[in-house]
Each structure stands twice: as structure tokens, then as C-alpha cells.
Subunit: 357 residues, 2 copies
């Protein structure tokens, strides 16, 4: 991961950050005109590590690489950690240069628009003139569609996946439960926990709630069913594999994610409404000049296809050049992290749809 | 609510209760042959108060009454609180007669089968010889289908609604998250909290997780959308109506429900598998002699229709007299508490399908 430092950043809700460090990774090379760039915007618990040529452990490994749909031979691919996050970019666990202590609960309110403006600073620094594509799923999709409305002249193509132009009540509801899980943990201490400590149980529970919501009945049934961790134990000691799996996923997250950052990102998601300050959704969509390919997932329980089709339809009504594609998957919301074959075909068709570079 | 006390009850998992008190309500009159009874089995947070002729505040008020689908002029209707619950029947908040203190975390493990055996004791006491119908949704449905397998000679008709013959991995997953919400609250104190105290925040969070799961994207979107509690507040003070609604629902439950009872019922649900000790589901279904009408809800996200249709199909394959009906509703899982018109029509057809009484 590389890091770049920027000066004073004023935030949408009125806060100010005296400086912002941005963690990011890039793959491929920028062309002379600076317009073969692709920006990958990551989801809630995502990070910059979308691809790793050697280790092969990037979270979008199946989509990125030489000759892959996100082709590192043709494109300059950038993935930066979001503002307020926990993976290299300034966030609540960062040191406030004005106090020498971590921001903790004093970290200012950040919006999806703020994340996008910081990404814009980074791309300017990297001499990117125009994005051939901005692409992301879930919270990454919130950023992708915000990009198209905030910097239309910079966005040639935009692919929001399993996401919203403004967050739904259902998604706010789940965020509310995850927020309470963290804040009700006494180890949260109002956000003022010491580095490396913090609300481990609360973050585990938040992650569990998330994981269940991101998956499906069918998947859990097929993969776990009523399988138990150990057979031949008294009935009262029954522990199901699905419980063990959720514990594991929760604990895994606590080793790499700051709880205050999790809260910051949840709130940014809740406040996501690309129509704010732009005359509503219609006004925001009227700004978009790039082409949009909106992608839904048929089994998504958090951002249901009904909503995905609605956004594509409203973009079309708003005069945008939009197409809609749907991934068929048993994985639910998380399919955008797993169904590389279908995703790849959609990305290739969208990028190849007209002359690029 | 009436109460009846029974002696020593041995439980499936090996525990023993020296005595069990059962809270229940009845409406209508039992006939001389004792076979015009209907047993209503309630859901996780349900209670005995399914109907109230005067106050009109029963939770199945729309289904019960003179001339209603569950007709108090024709049937003797019984609704008892479940064993291990929080509404009148012996549960963790009850006084252990052997110690003079509440059972708390020492309350023994209870199964759905145990609940049904205690209901059977009550019905024997009430001189009911046969159930014209046992009916319930969600956890009530777990009991209904258990009744048909446990006491086939006593069940003429059985109507499980939005439920399972053995609990799914998805339902166990949500139960796991709700359990953690309660147990991670330091006020839970390993279950040894004082009466009237206890893990209020944990129970609120558990209820929130439940409420979200019991409803749907469409319903929340239509009813709440992105409506805020107050307009014209700074962005950072935004509070959405959906958050306020979930807080209210959570707090409301804590005023009437014991957290240890909630945990006891979650575990009973997890362990629900009518095939246990009966040669699997096929063996259990082979015991059933009564008619079954299995009811699904098209928008149910917790007990999806795919599962509901599967249970009806497996009952049919097992040689049971089964029919399947589906409620069309935007309410999701909770539709069995709300869609009285459709529910009523299904109940009437099922009860009227052949000579009764």
C-alpha cells in the first residue's frame, strides 16, 4: 500500500480535517492522456487490497489482472481506502495532528460525498484526467454513483453494484442494529478506548448481523444446515456450525477493523442521498453525463433487485445512458465479491461497448 | 389469565421441574365429548392473550370471536403460555420452589417437545379429548407440527404457519445474533440479574434484530423511507424514523419480557427438529394421522416460501393428508399476526372442509 498526504479538507457536514492521509494501491500504468484509469470503490469492510499479482489474495482477484475484465495491461487501476475507514486512510483510529492523540469519538462526521472528494484529490495527484470506469458494490456502489453525480466530467463509465442512490429504510435499520451492538458494549467507552482495545464483542456482533444479511437462506441451508460442531454431546451442549462460522467471521474482522471506523462508515451510509443539495434524485441524475451500468443481484436481501431495477429505471427516465444487468446467484448481497464469472462478463461488455482509451 | 399447577415434569434434555404452573386463557365452551377444542400456540414474544371480547386487544383478535374463523360459539379455544416463557407459565423468572429464588440461569433446557407435553397436561386437565385444530405461526408453528407428531391421536387438524419441521440455519443464525445481544450485555450477569433489572439494552437490540427480520424492504420503505424524526437539524443530528420505531419496539418488549426467558425460547427453537428420536423427519411425518394445512407467506424472509412449500411437499411424500396455502402480503414473516382476512379464509376452509364436532 502507498500513502499520500493532503492538506486541509473541509467536510460536507461542517467538520474540518487539518490533513488527510490516503492509503491506496494501483495496478497497471497510466497512459499519457491520463484517461485509462479505473477507480475501484470498496465496501464497508473492504480495503485497498483488491488485487495482488503475487500473493493472489486480493478481494477482487478474479476480476483484475493481465487479460482479465479489469485488465491491468490496458488500464491503470486504483483502489484507495475510504476516508473515515480503517485500512490506511485517515479515520477515527488515526492520530489527530492537533492533539497528538487518536481522534476516536472526536473524528468528524464524514459523508459518501466526502469520501469521493478525497478520492478525487488522490486521482488529481496521480494525474488521472478521467475515469474510464468507477466501479464498486454495496458501500462501494454508493461511492460509484456519487462519483457520477459529483464529478460528471471525470466519469466516462460508472458501475454501481447492489447499491442505492439513497439508502433504504431497511439498510438504515440494519445499520442501526449494528451501531447499537458496538455502542452498547461497555468496552466502547463512548468511543474513547485505547488503541488495540475497544469493543471486541460489539464489533463481533455487528459483523454477525452483517454477515447474515449479506447471505441467504439457501446458501446457509446448503452449507451448514443443522450440522453441529461435535456429534454425540448432550442436547444442551449442541453448537451448530453456522454459529461457529459467524463467531469466526466476527472475530476475524476485529483483528483488522477499528470499531469507531465501522460506526463512521455506517453513518456515512445512512446519510447517503445523492440528491442532497442537488435538487433531489432527479437533479442529481440530470448531472450525470457518463454511461451507467447498474447491476443487481437476484438473491440480494439487503439491496433487493426490485430496488436495483428501480434505480436503473429512474436513471433512464432522467435521460441517462443506462443499462441494467442482473447477477443470478445463491450468495445474496455478497455475490459481488464472489461471482467473478458473471461480474467479469458484465464488466467486459460495458468496457468494450465502445472505443476506450 | 387462569393458572393451573402440575407436579414434577421431566424434560427431554434430562432436566426436571419439581412443579410447573401454566398460565392460559380459554374462550367458548367445551362440548360433552371434549373434541371441539382448538389450541393456539404462540410465537416467541407472544402470550396467552390472543383474544379479548371486551378490550379487543388480543394478538389474534381479528381471527377469534363469535362467528369468526376461530369461532367461540362453536369451539373451545385455549391459548397457554409456553414452558420457559415469560407470560404466566413457569420460566426462568419463576421462583424455584427448591431454593425460594428465581431459577435465572439455572432454569433447565427446554425443547419445543417439552412445551407441547406441558400443553398436553393442561388439555388433559381441561378434559379436552381431541383437538379439532392446533394452530400457530413461527415458534407457534414449531409447536403445532410437533403436536401432530407427538400426539397424533389427539390432533384432528394442524395448521403450522411460516415455520419449520426443523429449524433452518438462517433462523439459527439470527437466534445466535439475538442471543449474543443479550449475553454480551454486562447487565445480564450470566443470567443472575435481580427481578425487574437485567439486560435492557441487550433485549432491545435482540428485539430490533428480530423486528427487522420479521418485516420487509417494501414495508419499511413505504412506511418510513428516509423520513427523519426532526427536519432542519444539522446533518450530524439526523435521526431516521425507522431508528426511532425500532427503539420503541425494543423498549416496549423489555417492559413485558424476561431476557432469560427470551434466551430459553431461542434455544428451544434452535433445537427444534421433529425428527429427533423419531427416525428423522420421515419417521416423524409417518406418525401424523391428522390433516395438515401448511401456510407460507410470500414475503417471509426468515421462513421463506421455498422452505414452506418444501415441508408441505415432504409431508405429502410421507403420506400425510396435507394442503398448502400461501398468504400474499408486504408484511413479511409478521403477516400471520396481521393478515386476518387471508388467514381467516384459510382457517375457515380448513375447519369447514369436512364435518366437525
Amino acid at each position: 500500500m502507498q500513502r499520500e498526504r493532503f492538506g486541509r479538507v473541509e467536510l460536507e457536514a461542517g467538520g474540518v480535517l487539518a490533513q488527510v492521509e490516503v492509503g491506496y494501491e494501483t495496478w497497471g500504468a497510466l497512459n499519457r492522456t491520463g484517461d485509462n484509469a479505473i477507480l475501484i470503490t470498496h465496501a464497508l469492510t473492504g480495503d485497498t487490497h483488491a488485487y495482488d499479482e503475487e500473493a493472489g489474495d486480493g478481494w477482487w482477484q478474479g476480476l483484475i489482472g493481465p487479460g482479465k475484465p479489469l485488465d491491468t495491461d490496458r488500464y491503470y487501476i486504483v483502489c484507495s481506502n475510504v476516508l473515515g475507514g480503517s485500512g490506511g486512510t485517515t479515520g477515527p483510529a488515526s492520530i489527530d495532528p492537533q492533539t497528538g492523540r487518536p481522534y476516536g469519538p472526536r473524528f468528524p462526521l464524514v459523508t459518501i460525498g466526502d469520501m469521493v472528494r478525497v478520492q478525487h484529490l488522490l486521482l488529481q495527484h496521480l494525474q488521472v484526467s478521467r475515469l474510464a470506469l468507477v466501479i464498486g458494490g454495496s458501500m462501494g456502489g454508493l461511492q460509484a454513483i456519487e462519483w457520477a453525480a459529483a464529478f460528471p466530467e471525470r466519469v466516462e463509465r460508472c458501475m454501481p453494484i447492489a447499491t442505492s442512490a439513497k439508502l433504504s429504510a431497511l439498510a438504515i435499520a440494519y445499520n442501526d442494529a449494528m451501531r447499537m451492538a458496538i455502542q452498547a458494549d461497555p468496552a466502547w467507552q463512548g468511543g474513547d478506548y485505547a488503541a488495540g482495545e475497544g469493543p471486541v464483542q460489539g464489533l463481533i456482533l455487528a459483523r454477525k448481523i452483517g454477515m447474515i444479511t449479506y447471505r441467504t437462506y439457501d446458501l446457509f441451508e446448503e452449507r451448514f444446515g443443522r450440522e453441529t460442531v461435535r456429534a454425540d454431546v448432550p442436547l444442551g451442549d449442541t453448537r451448530f456450525q453456522i454459529e461457529s462460522y459467524l463467531d469466526y467471521q466476527g472475530e476475524k474482522l476485529t483483528r483488522r477493523f477499528d470499531a469507531n471506523a465501522y460506526l463512521t462508515l455506517l453513518k456515512a451510509m445512512d446519510l447517503h442521498d445523492i440528491g442532497r443539495g442537488r435538487g433531489g434524485i432527479t437533479g442529481a441524475f440530470a448531472r450525470i453525463t457518463g454511461r451507467v451500468c447498474w447491476v443487481g443481484i437476484d438473491s440480494d436481501r439487503l439491496y433487493p433487485v426490485r430496488e436495483q431495477r428501480m434505480w436503473a429505471e429512474r436513471l433512464r427516465e432522467g435521460g441517462c445512458a443506462v443499462e441494467y444487468r442482473e447477477i443470478v446467484s445463491p450468495f445474496g448481497h455478497d455475490a459481488f465479491l464472489l461471482e467473478f464469472e458473471q461480474m467479469g462478463a458484465i464488466v467486459e461488455a460495458f468496457l468494450g461497448g465502445r472505443e476506450s482509451m
